[in-house]
């Protein structure tokens, strides 16, 4: 007798094939979803800092300009993290004795910089330069999000290569006048933005064909 299998084997065979195919697709889809998720990119994940520094308070509340603290952003690759002296220029006068600012004071006393937790960490093979972006009219908000609404800082954008390329391929969607670079509240309709952006692309001599060359970011 050559009947080896129970009739249910037919259903079993088909179901298992379907499960394999669907399962493989789900697994690949899951991996893909994971690669773009906050677990992988760190977007919207609040970083704990030695001092609970609030960008929201300083920008929105006090009205400090970005460049007051990140003062090399227009001239060098790094935007610059303020030395303790910068903090103390105000905090020696106000809130000077709060427990919250104890690490700042001890940093000054011991002459040791505060060790902040990095929020944006580019890989070493990327040569990112803040100054060129600022000079050509990329607003802080384009990459860092509405920092003025962040009580504690987090990454607003994934900073993946595809994300960088998006702007390098279509810079006109993000450019603004240089005087508006640090503005957090500038809102333009998409048509206005495109018109403005195209104008600035010409004015600032931005060649988006060359912006996507490998050697622009990887040297």
């Amino acid at each position: 007798m050559s009947q080896i299998f129970h009739p249910s084997a037919n259903t079993l065979a088909r179901t298992s094939i379907a499960v394999l195919v669907i399962g493989a697709n789900l697994a690949l889809g899951g991996l893909y979803g994971f690669s773009g998720s906050p677990y992988q990119t760190g977007v919207n994940v609040v970083r704990t800092q030695p001092v609970p520094f609030s960008h929201e308070h300083h920008i929105r509340g006090v009205g400090v300009d970005c460049r007051y603290c990140h003062n090399t952003v227009e001239t060098s690759a790094s935007a610059g993290l303020p030395p303790t002296y910068t903090c103390m220029s105000c905090h020696s006068q106000i809130w000077g004795a709060t427990a919250m600012l104890e690490p700042v004071r001890s940093s000054l006393a011991e002459n040791k910089p505060i060790s902040w937790t990095r929020v944006h960490d580019m890989p070493d093979f990327v040569y990112f330069n803040h100054s060129i972006h600022v000079q050509k009219g990329v607003g802080c908000v384009s990459c860092h999000g509405q920092v003025d609404k962040m009580p504690l800082a987090w990454k607003a954008e994934p900073m993946t290569m595809a994300w960088c390329l998006n702007c390098h391929q279509h810079p006109e969607e993000h450019l603004r006048d240089k005087r508006d670079v640090t503005r957090m509240d500038l809102v333009l309709s998409s048509q206005e933005q495109l018109a403005k952006g195209r104008e600035l692309v010409n004015e600032n001599h931005i060649d988006s064909d060359r912006l996507i060359n490998c050697s622009v970011c990887h040297r």
């Binding site: 007798m1 050559s2 009947q3 080896i4 129970h6 009739p7 084997a9 088909r14 390329l165 996507i212």
Partner: protein
Amino acid sequence: MSHEAETETDAVHGVIAEFEHEADILAAAEAAYAAGYRKMDAYSPHPVDGLAEAMGFTKNRVPLIVLLGGLSGGATGFMMQWFSAVVHYPIDVGGRPLNSWPAFVPITFELTILFSAFASILGMLILNGLPKPYHPVFNAANFDSASSDRFFLCIESSDPMFETEGVKGFLEGFEPKSLSVVPVESDPGDREAEDS
């Protein structure tokens, strides 16, 4: 299968005749078709020329499926390359045009073949209703040798003209090596390898 088995425990799948030579089964199949039987199938250890045709089976959709598979493969291959090189990330590589179609030909070709090959095997298996590890015909006596050196012709009970004794008599006329009635459900005792 199972619902049939539930309704009638001793339901009959069909009557099967065993032959030793290709010529005999060809003659029997032709005669059965001529006699008006339509629901039947022949089983052989290797393909026999004209056997399927003798039972009135001529519609073969496999080539059409393969053609569609190939066309979709070629289109996928070229569009994938064109989209990524021209639309999504246009970049000048060594002065070659964005739409470097000569360079896109090899992959377009490979995907045409790949999709066609998938279409041919999937088309063949699906049209054949495989995989189907359980089939009533395996219940037939000596059916083991259908994959070695014997030829079987089964006239199935779903045929409107089917009537066990009549079909038996009909097949008897071709002097088969053996003749038996195939039950839909196997005798559990015989299912030696069932595992549960």
